[in-house]
């Protein structure tokens, strides 16, 4: 709620505008019965027809002003709440983006989408409709109470007596319905995730002809969603009619007790009649307590879910006083680096010294820890022991953005946005010049296939690059990384879908870019052969290192792999080793 209060404060002008027009409209409302009374008593009954014109004009005037004010009120609250939801979503989005990989490892996209969309919508309803209704009804209630107390304090006391009971119901309702909404909100996240995965993975679903299974899976969640919605409605059904009953009982009480007062000659029958008329003014705000509680409880439940995400602190943050190397050259050092995930060691005692402009290749079995090594350079995870330094400064002492700005990564999963090829290459550097764009695209062999497309660079690709082949996607990802002109380039198995010819050409282009330190993870000998140093990783440790020739001579793992890949070319191999 603190967060909401802050957002409301930021839009206080609109709230004031809304509340002012609300109050003025209500004040004008109070004149209406008076004018009607004049018309009925003086004009119609007493026949003073000369008053009619004025009274009617006043009535018409009030109507017009009220209409305008009513519009302003609605608009102001709508505008304020839409601004709040915009800000909230933006802040939430920025916060989520600042979280570390480990958060995304365990949180589903569907859930995050549900939070940023549905839960913020509930907050919007609370901040707009909820608050305007609340203020309106509080004013009504206060005005009605004052009037009732001036008329007859004893009767007024009786009618207000019901309030503690209603308050108690409201408190219980808030608690129960808040819990119900909390469950519903979590379930909606699951429903969203189920649908999201189904659509994101639809090609898999179809390949296995699992449509029926998927339908059942969704149906389970859909049914659960139905159940929780009904459960929530049941809470409402249990409490709201009670509030209605109590508000009607007020009338009975006032009439009954008032009747005794009249019979006991304590008040006149006229006072009682007047009083019962005004008591209706009290009923409305009392009833709306239910509605207000409902909207606010929902808002509160959603805020709690949102706050849970805000409470997630990025595990990896920039230090208070970041150090910056004198000059960025791309010198990467690993000193006795170890890494553990949940107590399981992933990397042990890794030592690497990658001089500026050198190429380090990493090979190893699937899951041996290759990607973990390079993830430490950009500090996507923190090493558990030892240190990783870039240009002499420990990455943990550097500003995160400054550090990552030095690095360009091509990931195993080529990820493209549903946008033009050009925008995908530009991604992350909107100021990229045309030449740099073309140069990177040519080096990564992107132009080779865009030239054959009708719209060339402006061709829109589907989400995740749908419509392109695996190799084309990799080439765009490589172009994206190259175009940044950063000091450290990391290719994490980024050429696996390329045919050998293309891979060869891209490699030539990479080699010509001398100012970059390159890390290349690959499985094909052809991709790593020209590296300055090749590291063979097994089980999180470097088991072999050296350049191509040295490793062949070693006749170890590298040699084995070489033979496996070139088994038909052994004669050539022998020639070379000799």
């Amino acid at each position: 709620m603190k967060r909401l209060a802050r957002y409301i404060r930021g839009n206080i002008c609109w709230y004031i505008a809304g509340i002012t027009s609300l109050v003025v409209a209500m004040a004008l409302d109070m004149f209406n019965p008076y004018i009607v009374k004049v018309i009925v008593d003086d004009v119609i009954a007493a026949g003073k027809s000369e008053l009619l014109k004025g009274a009617l004009l006043a009535l018409a005037g009030i109507t017009v002003v009220r209409t305008v004010l009513g519009y302003i009120k609605q608009y102001a609250f709508d505008y304020a709440s839409s601004k709040i939801v915009l800000k909230l979503r933006k802040d939430l989005f920025d916060h989520i983006q600042s979280l570390s990989f480990s958060f995304f490892d365990s949180t589903n996209t569907g859930e995050l989408m549900s939070r940023i969309k549905d839960d913020t919508e509930n907050v919007m309803a609370g901040a707009g409709y909820g608050i305007s209704l609340f203020i309106e009804q509080v004013i009504y209630f206060v005005v009605a109470s004052v009037m009732l107390f001036t008329l007859n304090w004893k009767l007024a006391l009786i009618s207000v007596l019901i309030m503690p009971f209603i308050a108690q119901i409201a408190v219980k309702l808030e608690k129960k319905i808040g819990e119900a909404y909390g469950r519903l909100s979590d379930q909606r996240a699951v429903l969203n995730t189920t649908a999201q995965e189904n659509i994101a993975g639809v090609r898999l679903v179809k390949a296995f002809a699992r449509e029926k299974y998927e339908i059942n899976k969704f149906f389970e969640q859909n049914k659960e969603n139905y159940r929780l919605n009904v459960e929530q409605a049941k809470v409402w059904a249990d409490f709201f009619p009670k509030i209605e009953l109590l508000s009607n009982v007020v009338i009975v009480l006032v009439t009954g007790v008032g009747g005794f007062f009249v019979i006991g000659d304590e008040i006149s029958i006229g006072t009682l009649v007047a009083f019962t008329n005004y008591v209706y003014m009290l009923i409305w705000p009392v009833r709306s307590i239910g509605w207000i509680t409902n909207v606010l409880a929902q808002c509160k439940a959603s805020l709690a879910k949102i706050n849970k995400i805000f409470d997630e602190k990025p595990e990896i943050r920039s230090p208070e006083n970041p150090k910056t190397p004198a000059k960025f050259e791309g010198h990467v050092e690993f000193k006795n680096v170890g890494l553990e995930f949940g107590g399981v060691p992933v990397l042990k005692n890794i030592n690497i010294d990658a001089k500026p402009g050198s190429t380090i290749a990493i090979m190893g079995l699937t899951g041996s820890g290759k990607s973990s090594i390079i993830n430490l350079i950009g500090r996507f995870y923190d090493c558990t022991s030892g240190s990783v330094c870039v240009d002499g400064v420990d990455v943990k002492d550097m500003d995160l953005k400054t550090l990552r700005d030095q690095i360009a990564i091509v990931m195993q999963d080529t990820f493209l946005f549903s946008d033009t090829i050009e925008e995908n290459i530009r991604f992350g550097s909107s100021s990229l010049s045309e030449e740099e764009l073309i140069k990177a695209s040519e080096d990564a062999k992107v132009t080779e296939f865009t030239e054959q497309m009708k719209d060339g660079f402006k061709t829109v690709v589907g989400e995740r690059g749908i419509g392109l082949s695996g190799g084309q996607k990799q080439r765009i990802s490589i172009a994206r990384a190259l175009s940044k002109g950063r000091k450290i380039l990391i290719l994490d198995d980024a050429t696996s879908a390329l045919d050998m010819e293309t891979e060869y050409e891209i490699q030539k282009a990479l080699e010509s870019r001398k100012g970059m330190t390159k890390f290349i993870i690959a499985h094909r000998i052809s991709a790593v052969k020209n590296a300055d140093e090749i590291l063979i990783i097994d089980n999180g440790e470097i088991v072999e290192r050296g350049n191509h020739k040295q490793l062949l001579k070693l006749k170890g793992r590298y040699y084995e792999t070489y033979c496996e890949q070139f088994n038909c070319a052994e004669d050539m191999l022998e020639e070379e080793v000799v």
């Binding site: 915009l86 983006q97 490892d105 994101a200 993975g201 898999l204 589907g462 792999t561 038909c568």
Partner: protein, 596 residues
């Protein structure tokens, strides 16, 4: 193929509101009885509500004035009792109606979802995930208000209006007509804004959908965003989309917010007219003073339901856009569906043949041109060629993920178009370029290949692809949670899991589309040995770039520019000295260089 993205609004067909509304309310048909109950209950509640003032008057006039204590007590008791009855009715009404509303929403959502499952790849190729999702979740949710407040408020309100109108007309038809004078203007005003309002809400839904699409892409690609330190840029894009959504909302709301004032205005002006005209009638001695006073009492009873109905109309306009978007998808016919006379594919032997197959994704640029080939059961075929030349397209046609424009694809002599999709695909094991894992345990992900597989079968499949070892090393072994992005698994490990999944399906035809690209040579070799016995006698298609993978195939098909350039064994193709020879030699360029 027009690909829509997060920057672009979806195109929607023009529809007629009344048809959408009719179609929407048709969902209420099965609930005639509960709706009738709800109406009765509402009737009861309203009756009690109306009796309250009457009892009040009775209490004051008859009992209090006559100092009848007993009578007063009895009356109070009756009133309390009636209100308790009303409370019970109210409770029942809310429960029944919420049941109906949520059932209807559940049905619509499920129907939409089921329909989407039937749609073909091309549907998904053209739309971002977030936009499809927005329809299943957001658009369906938007209908909630509509159903909750529809029938249940509409019928009693209309009844009220008609009753009051009759009373007013019978009191004095002239005065009655005078008080209705603003109604036509109100109605005209409301219908005039109908089209504009609907269009604006439609626009709002589209902007919302764009926002959803971008959110989805950004969160699924968060690693790329963070690694390129593009957070500021994506944050700006997000803000732009947020603003577009907000602006569309405010534009729509500007009309919506005028509804309530419009009714109030008509009400106020109507009242003024009644007094003014009433006075003239009194002067002309047409009516009595008492009649006018009584009449004005009905005027306010008359306007209350009108206000509620216009409120409902407003909700309708706001939410019909959601309904339109739902029905639009429901009306899309799947490109690929079972033929009316489709047969069940018998157990596949594995003879695959393409006869003069021509295919294009957009109907203009052919990706495959007149491709013909025959593969015998049990053969392993490697598809080789430069990227983007049609390899994936060929294997996609075998599973009938797309429809050929010309020529036929047949398996064991059955045209794939003439057998049921399920019987065809359930006998194939396809491993795609993009490995997708569902959120859940590793075990569940492997089990996806065969839903009733025992744990032993799952482990056996994992062992065959050398995945068992690394799985066991994980904290919770097979029960380790993974998600779409694959959590801490490397790309290679995810491919191994996907491989186990495909294998578990016991496919008659196995298709590996760059399925082992991220797996090291050593493990790949182990897999080849592991699955050899399992896949004996089955046909497989392998797309790969690694020579060691390709060479183990029986025959190699070289694809270039949508045609089969050459086909044969490794040795034959090397002798050909054509494209394969070039590709093959490319890897030796590295070696040659050094020798120089």
């Amino acid at each position: 193929m027009a690909v829509n993205n997060f920057k672009e609004d979806e195109l929607t067909k023009e529809t007629v509101s009344i048809q959408v509304v009719r179609r929407l309310f048709a969902y209420l048909k099965p609930y005639k009885l509960p709706i009738l109950q709800v109406l009765l209950l509402i009737g009861l509640v309203i009756t009690v509500e109306l009796f309250n003032p009457y009892f009040l008057k009775l209490g004051i006039d008859r009992f209090i004035a006559n100092k009848d204590v007993v009578g007063l007590l009895v009356l109070s008791a009756v009133m309390v009792a009636l209100n308790v009855v009303s409370m019970v009715c109210s409770r029942m009404r809310i429960k029944i109606m919420s049941g109906v509303t949520n059932k209807v929403l559940m049905t619509i959502r499920q129907e939409l979802y089921n329909h989407i499952q039937k749609l073909s790849f091309s549907f998904f190729d053209e739309r971002p995930v977030g936009k499809i999702l927005a329809r299943i979740i957001g658009d369906v949710n938007s209908l909630n208000d509509l159903f909750t407040n529809s029938i249940t408020s509409l019928i009693p309100e209309v009844t009220k209006i008609i009753a009051v109108m009759i009373i007013m007309l019978s009191m004095n038809y002239k005065l009655a007509l005078a008080s209705f004078v603003t109604l036509p203007f109100l109605a005209a005003g409301m219908f005039l804004v109908e089209t504009t309002s609907r269009k604006r809400w439609q626009m709002f839904r589209k902007k919302n959908s764009n926002l959803n699409a971008f959110t989805h892409e950004d969160f699924s690609g968060i690693r790329v965003v963070q690694s390129f330190t593009a957070e500021e840029e994506t944050s700006k894009t997000f803000l732009d989309l947020l603003k577009a959504t907000r602006d569309a909302f405010m534009k729509a709301v500007r009309i919506n917010d005028s509804f309530w004032p419009m009714v109030e205005m008509s009400w106020g002006v109507g009242t003024v007219v009644v007094y003014w005209y009433g006075m003239r009638l009194i002067e002309a001695q047409d009516i009595t003073v008492g009649l006018l006073v009584a009449f004005t009492g009905y005027v306010s009873i008359f306007w209350q339901p009108i206000m509620n109905i216009s409120n409902f109309y407003n909700t309708l306009l706001t939410n019909i856009a959601g309904a339109e978007r739902i029905f639009e998808i429901m009306d899309i016919e799947p490109d690929i569906k079972n033929d009316a006379k489709a047969l069940t594919m018998p157990k596949i032997k594995g003879n695959v043949s393409f006869k003069n197959v021509t295919f294009s994704y957009d109907g203009q640029n052919p990706v495959l041109k007149n491709v013909s080939f025959d593969v015998k059961a049990g053969e392993t075929i490697a598809l080789v060629g430069p990227t983007g030349m049609g390899k994936t397209t060929i294997v996609n046609l075998i599973s009938r993920f797309y429809e050929t424009q010309e020529g036929t694809v047949s398996i064991d002599g059955y045209d794939v178009k003439k057998v049921t999709i399920e019987s065809l695909r359930s006998q194939m094991g396809v491993m795609m370029q993009d490995t997708f894992l569902f959120s859940g345990t590793i075990k569940d992900n492997i089990r996806y290949g065969k839903l009733d597989a025992t744990d032993e079968e799952i482990i056996a499949a994992a062992k065959a692809v050398s995945a068992h070892e690394f799985i066991m090393k994980m904290e919770k072994g097979y029960d380790t949670q993974v998600n779409e992005r694959g959590s801490r698994l490397s790309a290679g490990q995810r491919q191994l899991i996907a491989f186990a999944r495909a294998l578990l399906a016991n496919p008659r035809i196995l298709i590996l589309d760059e399925a082992t690209a991220s797996i090291d040579t050593h493990t790949e070799r182990l897999i080849q040995q592991g699955i050899k016995s399992l896949l004996k006698g089955r046909t497989s298609f392998v797309i790969a770039h690694r020579l060691s993978t390709i060479q183990s195939a029986d025959r190699i098909m070289v694809i270039d520019n949508g045609c089969i350039r050459e086909m044969g064994t490794h040795e034959q193709l090397l002798k050909n000295k054509d494209l394969y020879y070039q590709l093959y030699m490319a890897q030796f360029k590295f070696l040659e260089e050094e020798a120089v």
